[in-house]
């Protein structure tokens, strides 16, 4: 159950997601969201207070490799897809 109005909700979530919703998209999204959230709410009828959650099916903890220098990509290869490069650095927006 939503604790807020659907339109206010969408504004808040789209701000959190850094996704702007155009006016054409808004109606479709609101309509679909309502249906999907109702569908999600079907799990609310279950009482699961005594159940442990399962986030990952692996029995063992994921392993990390030894901290040894291996082969890696060259700087040129890494920068190949960057659109704005300055002096070998990736250019980002100014930090206020």
């Amino acid at each position: 159950m939503l604790k807020e109005d659907l339109k206010v909700w969408l504004e808040r979530i789209s701000k959190l997601s850094l996704i702007r919703i155009s006016s054409e998209e808004e109606e479709i999204i609101l309509n679909d969201m309502k249906k999907i959230i109702e569908f999600f709410n079907t799990i609310n009828s279950l009482d699961l207070s005594n159940v442990e959650p399962l986030f990952m099916v692996l029995k063992d903890e994921p392993v990390v490799r030894d901290d040894e220098v291996g082969e890696s990509l060259s700087v040129d290869e890494v920068l190949k897809n960057v659109k704005e490069v300055e002096g070998g650095f990736i250019k980002g927006p100014k930090t206020a």
Binding site: I13, S17, R20, V51, E52, L54, V64, V82, A96
Partner: protein
């Protein structure tokens, strides 16, 4: 009317043997596959990026030379189609998204390294639902892929391009990825075989992430032997993937036996055959069960009531993971870009993401952000993860009593274009039987069960952890008894 080489109808396993005895045949094979592509690709549109024939012939010539020098590559000379969610060095990889429309990866996924290492040749990158989010391949940012059995129907998704490339003889074998059914659904809809391996069996290094805890790369093929061949190559430990299982030297060809390798006990789940299933699907399903019974295998019915909550739990978890995984698309390091001049970080990110992502992807990121947000986490994400635990425990318990669970792969035959998109829940329902294997990490294969009214229907077999060999054995037996292998869909039946 052109006469195609006889090689076009041969399976991958057979071709590899032919190439070993006569490496010169590789060129004839490549040319004939491109002749099929020339004729059918405009109708079905499997490929986002197809490599030019001369480049592929040059690769073929190199393989021919190594074979002449005694190379024994298990895929030597074969053309492999690759879903555009798997990165390929210097070959554009888009995820069927505008946000990655010009991305040229600087490295190969582990599965690609292994395929090339065995002499396989990547022929092109196949269409899919954007970021693998969809079950029909209608959500591609570029174009829709059509089902070669009926051009008015969807091929299933999200690995629809890979399924169609294989089904329409535009490649011998293919790679797909499966987060909630994305290999098995299109395999069922196009009359081929596809497997979602045990979680951790195949390296995810170089697979562009959507639902990290759910997804696996897997093979798609026109027959069970070819699937076993490709799975043997891609399965096994990879230090580049921290979730990779420490299993090595797997050879699934040993399970291609015409009789049961053990006295399999087969379970059907009451909840999966009672409501919401098409009659045509159910008839095909029952016919498949009889084939197993004729082999002397026992079929029993069980009930798993929690299974009706699997679909909402799956979508909550998948969307939560998506919202986190897709946070990386900032437009600064790669992909769709807007100038950083005069904009703040938030403005750049927001502009890139709003313009670069399609509608279905946006919906899933928004909902994923929501189910993880303060005040809603316990109600949705945590609760879904508890359902996952109950489901997992139920299947572990069940597999102490039985060896395999069978269900129809999908509740219906392939929808016509637009049918599943009218309502988001209609689209999600296509994954009703497949998501269980992703939530539990178990292996599941889809094989042709029947052809009804000229469209294929799929059968799904789910097994215990790392039981791929036995699933392949059962799939092979079913294939022998049903004769459903190397099927030729209507779109290419005039010349293949």
């Amino acid at each position: 009317m052109i006469i195609l080489s006889k090689l076009i109808r041969k399976g991958a396993t057979e071709l590899v043997e032919l190439f070993k005895s006569d490496p010169r045949l590789i060129e004839e094979y490549i040319v004939s596959v491109y002749e099929v592509i020339d004729r059918v690709e405009d109708l079905v549109r499997s490929y986002i990026t197809l490599r030019p024939l001369n480049e592929v012939l040059a690769d073929g010539a190199k393989v021919r030379e190594t074979l002449t020098n005694g190379f024994k590559g298990r895929l030597a000379g074969l053309l492999v189609a690759v879903k555009d969610v798997i990165v390929t060095k210097n070959l554009r990889t888009t995820c069927a998204s505008k946000i990655l429309y010009d991305f040229i990866p600087p490295y190969n996924a582990t599965v690609i390294e292994r395929i090339i290492g065995e002499g396989g040749i990547v022929v092109g990158k196949t269409n899919m639902d954007e970021f693998a989010m969809g079950s029909t391949t209608e959500n591609s940012a570029f174009f829709k892929t059509r089902n070669p059995w009926d051009l008015d129907r969807v091929p299933g998704g999200s690995s629809g391009g890979s399924a169609v490339a294989v089904a329409a003889y535009e490649a011998s074998i293919a790679l797909g990825s499966d987060t909630g059914g994305s290999i098995r659904v299109p395999a069922a809809y196009t009359g081929i075989v596809g497997i979602k391996p045990t979680y951790g069996l195949v390296s995810r290094y170089g697979l562009i992430s959507y639902g990290t805890s759910l997804e696996q790369i897997g093979p798609m093929a026109r027959n069970v032997s070819d699937l076993a061949l490709l799975l043997s190559v891609i399965a096994g430990y990879d230090p580049h993937d921290s979730t990779s299982l420490k299993v090595r030297d797997l050879n699934y060809m040993e399970f291609l036996k015409p009789t049961p390798m053990k006295k399999y006990r087969i379970a059907i789940i009451r909840e999966c055959v009672s409501e919401g299933v098409d009659n045509t699907v159910l008839t095909a399903f029952n016919r498949s069960l009889r084939r197993f019974e004729e082999e002397g295998l026992e079929v029993l019915e069980v009930s798993i009531p929690i299974i009706k909550y699997a679909l909402p739990a799956y979508y909550i978890i998948a969307m939560a993971e998506a919202s986190s995984n897709l946070a990386r698309y900032d437009g600064i390091r790669y992909g769709y870009h807007v100038s950083v001049e005069g904009r703040t970080w938030d403005e750049v990110y927001t502009e890139v993401r709003s313009e670069g992502f399609g509608l279905e992807v946006k919906k899933r990121i928004l909902l994923g952000t929501f189910v993880l947000s303060a005040g809603y986490y316990d109600q949705y994400y945590l609760k879904a993860s508890k359902i996952r635990k109950l489901l997992y425990d139920e299947f572990m318990k069940l597999f102490k009593e039985v060896d395999v669970v069978v269900t129809p792969t999908t509740p219906t035959t392939p929808p016509r274009f637009g049918e599943a998109l009218t309502d988001p829940l209609k689209l999600y329902l296509l994954d009703t039987y497949t998501v269980v294997a992703n939530l539990t990490g178990l292996p599941a294969i889809s094989i042709p069960s029947d052809i009804v009214n000229d469209v294929p229907v799929g059968l799904q077999l789910i097994g215990p952890r790392l039981s791929e060999g036995y699933l392949i054995n059962l799939a092979y037996i079913h294939e022998l008894k049903s004769g459903l292998k190397d099927l030729v869909p209507t779109a290419v039946s005039g010349y293949v």
